[in-house]
């Protein structure tokens, strides 16, 4: 049954307007960095390798654009069922509510990986004019930033990008879960997405409390730049947030009247 539900949910997510728009935007977005004429004047650096474009794409979108896209798509995945009236219709079939929501949660957890894979490929494509040979400098996702620590081979550069993008996708999962949780609470997509964004903005303001800053969900959005030694801790914290939001969503959904 869960496989049938997963198949259905994957078929649905590609039909969401927010997903189509988001993926199209992520394909175009890296071109801004690759061909921006004033990048040196504004940021004080210029690109020396195609491997640097993905880092710039990620650095400039991870704090707002990517969480926004994930939150809206997650909220829309449930919100359209509510708006179309298909939610009660499907729940009349011998499907348990936790199973049905679990299928959505799994798809929402996988979606950031697909999204960032598209983003990475689009960024690499945008970086073609700069070439992909070894270069002196950094990708921007390693510990030495764009300046680097000497010569970087293509393999090392790609490895840094892959690690950074994987961690970034991981950090976006709890945001999708949070959006689904709020959509369950408010029973509409707009309410779910807005509440998620409001929560993230509020959480970003909590950096004024240095003691809790390392534990904030918004802090984990920088996970892609986490030093190697902190990776396990960051992943554990992200997993905890994701599991908590998902569990709350299932518990609330179980008790909802339709």
């Amino acid at each position: 049954m869960i496989l049938t539900l997963l198949r259905m949910e994957f078929a649905k997510i590609w039909r969401l307007s927010s997903v189509r728009f988001g993926l199209a935007l992520l394909v175009v977005f890296p071109l801004l960095w690759a061909y921006a004429p004033g990048i040196f004047e504004v940021y004080g650096f210029f690109l020396v390798s195609g491997f640097q474009v993905p880092a710039l794409s990620l650095l400039s979108s991870m704090q707002f654009l990517l969480p926004l896209l994930v939150a809206i798509s997650a909220a829309e995945l449930l919100g359209t069922e509510i708006a179309n009236g298909t939610l009660p219709t499907i729940l009349l079939r011998p499907v348990t509510r936790p199973n049905w929501l679990a299928a959505k949660l799994i798809v929402i957890a996988i979606y950031p990986f697909i999204m960032l894979l598209v983003f990475l490929l689009a960024s690499l494509a945008a970086g073609i004019p700069f070439g992909f040979a070894g270069f002196f400098g950094g990708t921007g996702l390693g510990e030495a930033g764009l300046l680097g620590q000497g010569m970087l081979t293509p393999g090392q550069a790609f490895g840094e990008l892959l690690r950074g993008y994987l961690l970034a996708a991981l950090a976006l999962i709890p945001i999708g879960m949070l959006a689904l949780l709020f959509t369950v609470v408010f029973m509409n997509a707009a309410g779910g997405a807005l509440a998620t964004l409001a929560s993230l903005i509020f959480m970003q303001l909590l950096v004024v409390f240095p003691a809790i800053e390392p534990f904030l969900l918004t802090t984990q959005l920088n996970a892609y730049a986490a030093p190697g030694g902190e990776t396990a801790w960051v992943v554990a914290l992200i997993a905890l947030y994701g599991a908590l939001f998902a569990a709350l969503a299932v518990v609330l959904f179980e008790r909802k009247d339709f």
Binding site: M1, T86, I90, L92, P94
Partner: protein, 320 residues
Amino acid sequence: MATPAIASDALTKSYGNRTVVDDFTFRVNPGEVYALVGPNGAGKTTVIRLVAGLAFPTSGQVSILGKDPHQHPAVRRELGAVVEAPAAFYPYLSGRANLRLHADLAGGVEPGRIDEVLRLMELDDAGERKVGVYSLGMRQRLGVAAAILTRPKVLMLDEPASGMDPLSLHLVHSVLRKAAGEGTAVLLSTHHLDEVVAYCTRVAILEEGVLIDEVNLFDRRERFRVRVTDTSRGLHALEAQPEAVTHATIRGGELVFIPRTNEDLGAVSSILAAAGVGVLEMNRDIFDLRAYYRERVSAERARRTGVAPATDVSGYGGQA
């Protein structure tokens, strides 16, 4: 006693201080067509959603084929329902693809059944079209097609007549009647009292979430009125013959009775004559559900508010 297909006991649903279904108890047996009627906001849709397991009762119990649908989701394999008006489907999928999706979720739908229900609901030509371009009536028919897809033992339909033209409505009626004839229990909510009289066996009248009356339409259809020389003696005589008459009462100065069979109808005159009661006129009692409904709802409102009805609602003039 056989397990009813649908049952509720003291079913109550409240939202905050507002009770939308209050202490509602009813049974629907296999092969019955049971209608819920009442004004807007009477609680009909809530009852259907509670029974279907989509909403949780504040107190009381519901069961489908003897099982609580919340605790035994598998019992929904035996349930077909349309709970949205118009019936809700994925607009970007074709009618056939929507039914395929329902079949996958329900499981055990035999090959060819989708074609069969599309044909039955006269949607075979529209099966490949996206539901987004369907008319209201087509969506409702597709809803009924999805509901009967698994050959369920229980059918529930909320406002099946909504948005339907007379031909579509006739089609849906005949499908529901056929399902009931094959032993399926049918529960529907409607505002169309003609629809109810046409093929329902029992009807529950709800007002403000309270069951104010349950009418057995089967009995009502077979009821007769007799004007006699002495109603009290006539009633006594008929009540003494339970093998010929199942029910007898006095209403509007006339004797009203239900014969056990059509043959027993002739025996009634003899019974009355033997008791020394002269028969002046005998008519089939045509039950006016519309007038009866108006009277019962108005009376209930008057009872609740203490204000007599402003308009004349004495069209029926009798009691249940």
